[in-house]
């Protein structure tokens, strides 16, 4: 073999091996035939379990739609809020469809897509607490689900007020349990969760008393930060969900009313 053919052979071998090693996550998902989504199933109406213990909710349908678009089977991996990142990093899930607020702090760790849903925040109070508005919460004992956007905002608000107490509970159910028992006077949650819980009849003596003046909570899908191919695909998928009317359809199915606008005026992306 002369030097040229050795070089050519070597290059070919390197290209073949290099090509295989560069399969990205999008390829892996399509190749494996399964899309594993981290979904929070303690967060109705986005994710919960029905009477047969099957996962249902907006996020569950969204994952199924995504799997359908990719031509693979969806696998819903129940993931509590605090475990979203460990689940992704340890490779147990491919994508988070978990109502995750797209904060800059978190984007240092994971790759966020464009927003796929938006929440408004509502104040729910125990009827005996005398809390009738957001401002009434000053000096009271308030709580929220640990690790959520509203928990972080509410805790900062309590610090700014300089009185009262903030308690983070691990699940949404615990927050509403504590609220109905009067352990906390009020909570801030997404308006969808507030309505769903008050209507559920599981908790008595609670009312949704008003809006919380926090910024709209845009939530994004997330995956590993460096998976540009997949993030690119997810962005287009979200765009298509809105464009085809599927987003509005799912919103009507799980929440009802007019679906929130997912764009922000005056700036790109």
């Amino acid at each position: 073999m002369n030097k040229v053919s050795v070089l050519v052979f070597g290059l070919m071998a390197a290209t073949a091996l290099g090509g295989a090693a560069h399969a990205d996550k999008l390829d892996d998902i399509i190749g494996s035939g399964t899309l594993r989504c981290a979904v929070v199933l303690d967060f109705p109406p986005m994710g919960s379990r029905d009477a047969d213990n099957q996962p249902v909710g907006f996020d569950v349908d969204y994952c199924n739609d995504l799997a359908k678009a990719l031509g693979v089977t969806a696998e819903i991996v129940e993931t509590p809020f605090p475990e979203r990142i460990p689940a992704l990093m340890s490779g147990r899930v491919d994508v988070g469809v978990a109502s995750t607020s797209d904060t800059l702090e978190r984007a240092k760790t994971v790759g966020m897509t464009i927003p796929y849903f938006a929440f408004e925040m509502a104040v729910t109070a125990n009827d005996k607490s005398g809390v009738k508005s957001f401002e009434d919460m000053k000096g009271k004992v308030v709580g929220a689900t640990a690790g959520t956007y509203e928990a972080i905002a509410l805790e900062e608000q309590v610090k700014a007020w300089g009185e009262g107490e903030f308690r983070p509970y691990q699940t949404q159910a615990d927050v509403f349990l504590a609220l109905s028992q009067g352990q906390i006077d009020a909570t801030v949650s997404t308006s969808t969760v507030a309505q769903a819980n008050v209507k559920s009849g599981n908790f008595t003596g609670l009312s949704v008393v008003g809006k919380a003046p926090f910024d709209t909570d845009y939530v994004a899908l997330f995956t590993n930060r460096e998976e540009y191919g997949l993030i690119n695909y997810l962005n287009l998928f979200i765009n298509q969900q809105v464009r085809t009317g599927r987003y509005a359809e799912l919103y009507e199915k799980w929440v009802g009313g007019e679906a929130p606008d997912l764009t922000v005026g005056g700036v790109y992306r």
Binding site: M89, T103, Y169, D174, A178, Q181
Partner: protein
């Protein structure tokens, strides 16, 4: 494949906050141990009292404390009592839960230690002219404490580690609570949990070593 780049700088900046949390953890553990010891002594007394009601109370307490998860005990102290309109703050609920657990284990520990001292010693004491209280005070008790001491330090370490269950009842000032919150904010799960684990390790180790040193001083012949 573990695809994660560690950002230690960012995490270490939160170290002072975490150390403040560690102090709260230690405080809860120490208080739970003090309360637990007092309750355990009372429970041991109940068992020796011969009263059916008192030994019944002690038996139920020890059974529940030793045979249900600490998580359940703490959860019940907050949400269980809350159902009856008794509102313990997360701090109080955590403290009550761990103290309850400690008391159960320590009472059992004392019982074992009492059994380790042969009855003949009490009789020997009595035959030397001591009354039963004196025999207990001067012969049995010092030996019992010695036997029970090292297992009790185990319980102290266990109490420190159990404080991390406080997050389930809304505790956010102890080490686990602070760690959870930092994690939620930044998603730097592995850094914060690793630092927390190291801090727990050092607290537990320090307590064990201090207890050994103390034992060496106290129990010299």
């Amino acid at each position: 494949m573990f695809n994660y780049t560690f950002h230690w700088n960012q995490a270490l900046r939160a170290l002072p906050q975490m150390l403040d949390g560690a102090l709260v953890t230690l405080q809860v553990a120490v208080l739970s141990m003090v309360i637990g010891l007092a309750c355990a002594i009372a429970l041991t007394g109940f068992r020796l009292s011969g009263s059916r009601i008192l030994s019944g109370i002690a038996a139920v307490w020890v059974e529940v404390a030793r045979n249900t998860p600490a998580l359940f005990q703490i959860y019940m102290a907050h949400f269980g009592l809350g159902n009856f309109g008794i509102h313990l703050s997360p701090y109080a609920a955590l403290l009550a839960g761990i103290a309850f657990n400690n008391a159960g284990y320590l009472a059992e520990n004392f019982r074992g230690a009492l059994k380790a001292i042969p009855e003949t010693q009490t009789r020997a004491g009595r035959s030397l002219g001591m009354n039963s209280l004196q025999a207990f005070r001067f012969i049995v008790l010092p030996q019992m404490l010695r036997v029970a001491y090292l297992p009790a330090t185990n319980q102290m370490v266990w109490a420190i580690l159990m404080t991390s269950l406080g997050v389930t009842v809304g505790m956010n000032t102890d080490l686990a609570g602070v760690t959870q919150e930092l994690n939620a904010r930044s998603f730097r799960t592995f850094e914060f949990f690793a630092i927390a684990a190291v801090i727990y390790y050092f607290i537990a180790k320090a307590v064990t070593l201090a207890a050994r040193a103390l034992a060496w001083r106290m129990f010299r012949y």
